[in-house]
Amino acid sequence: MKYLLAAVSALAVAASPALAQGNGHGNSNGNGNGNRGAPASVSDNRGNGNGNGNRNAMRDDRGNGQGAASRADRQGGPPQARGNDDRGGPPEARGNGNGNGNGNRGGPAIGRGDDRPGNGNGNGNANGNRGNGNSAGNGRGNNGNQDRISVRSGGLVDFIAYRGPSHGMADGCPPGLARKYNGCRPPGLARQQDEARYRRYSPDWWGYGGLFGDRRGSYYYDDGFLLRLGSDGRISGYIPLLGGALAVGRTWPDDYRYARMPRYYESYYGLGGPDRYRYADNVVYRLDPQTTAIVSIAAMLTGDEFVVGQPMPRGYDVYNVPYGYRDRYYDGPDAMYRYNNGYVYQVDPETMLIASVIELAI
């Protein structure tokens, strides 16, 4: 079995240059060296390393040897998102960034017993220049099943870059309710009735407690919106709710912010082009691009952040790897695996630190 796995790994490495290619917006060059004590296998290159890079593009960091450079600083250009306060560095943004990362951890197990990869060391450098998509790298193989494995000290930076702008209560009053309530002031009777039900209508009850910083104040539910009432009784903010204002058949509220997801998510969830979905408040909605009407719910995300080198978030005590990947990623004394939001994470059972991120084959 060990030899079979080694052979599979060899095949995997043959495919690795393709995996190392950037995504079209940058040039990246990487070199990596892996060292391990286990029986020789080209998949050693999955090992871990240190990366330093400058980048403009989304994923060029993954193409750098096995030392994935993380972004410490990023100054992204305008995001592909629109709406309220959608700023940040989405994957498609052009900008300049500099990052340094360190990774110390073996890649995820692909075999059993002696076939487990050891620790490697690598160095990667990436220089991104807009407009070109060439990359060259040595290193980083995969597990032979085309899952992309990376060790990134910065965690899922692409996702995090989007997370901030994709959440938040919109200011003001929804246009429809502005017409319904003169001056965006719900009737006093309705407010009084609702006062006894604030627990239900608080952001916490709706599952938005962790997404919105300010849970204080009075909240009110109407017409599919969670509304925040200001001290003057006027609607001062709102969230269109899943199944309510953001239900199938409803058009996307013109003034509600959303964000574009990283390309991996677009691919994993089968979203199509950015005009065909909206991502907001940890839910991905499929849209009719012509009418912006919601046609279905494409995905729900937990909002939990898994960052390599950091402890696994709480709430993942049970093995939950997708059925089709259980023969590859299963818990053992040296590694455990957990799924979240399209990725499988390798976790050190002793320290409970996240060791690596595995992109699942599509």
């Binding site: 938005y208 962790g210 279905s296 005590d317 093995y319 939950n320």
Partner: protein, 182 residues
């Protein structure tokens, strides 16, 4: 065959069925994983038709038809009646969706997975995150798996999970969300 695969295939409802042994040596008849999607399996289960209807009304079926795995703790029709009574009509559909969202877990969890995790936990309880933002806590209660929400709502897992190609549905006898208007 690795341990996980054995656990998956070896009668995931062992505990629920009262057999009590979920070790990898278990030899009970395997529970096949269907080639159907989770959406299709939920739609085909008459015991959870109320949840299925809500998923359909809210456009959530597509969520369980796709590539990403989810596990649904689906309240039985008898249990979900409390939701429909407290939050009736189209007006309250968003609230019902908020309720069901807290029954959706990331990934592919079988009852055997949950049972194994609980048995291995030092304090006999494990937590799993939900899509509603609040975690659920699983414990063993007289040889049955119990689940408790952060607000204290409680249910028991029922036998006969639905193992779909892209997720799992496990029937529960209660609603894991406080419906009281306070």
């Amino acid at each position: 065959m690795n341990r996980t695969m054995i656990a998956l295939l070896a009668a995931p409802a062992l505990l629920l069925a009262g057999c009590g042994d979920s070790s990898e040596e278990a030899t009970e008849a395997p529970v096949a994983v269907s080639t159907q999607t989770l959406a299709a399996m939920i739609a085909g289960d008459s015991d959870i038709s109320a949840v299925s209807q809500l998923l359909s009304d809210a456009g959530l079926q597509g969520l369980f038809d796709g590539n990403a795995p989810y596990t649904v703790l689906a309240p039985t029709n008898a249990a979900f009646a409390a939701v429909e009574e407290a939050l009736p009509g189209d007006d309250q559909r968003a609230a019902r969706v908020a309720v069901i969202r807290e029954h959706v877990l990331p990934g592919y969890l079988t009852t055997a997975d949950i049972e194994a995790a609980v048995r291995n936990a030092p304090d006999g309880s494990v937590q799993m995150q939900t899509m509603g933002g609040a975690p659920l806590t699983f414990t063993l209660e007289d040889n049955t798996i119990g689940v408790t929400a952060a607000d204290g709502s409680h249910a028991l897992l029922q036998a006969g999970e639905l193992l779909a190609s892209n997720g799992v549905a496990i029937r529960v006898d209660g609603v894991l969300k406080n419906l009281d208007a306070q």
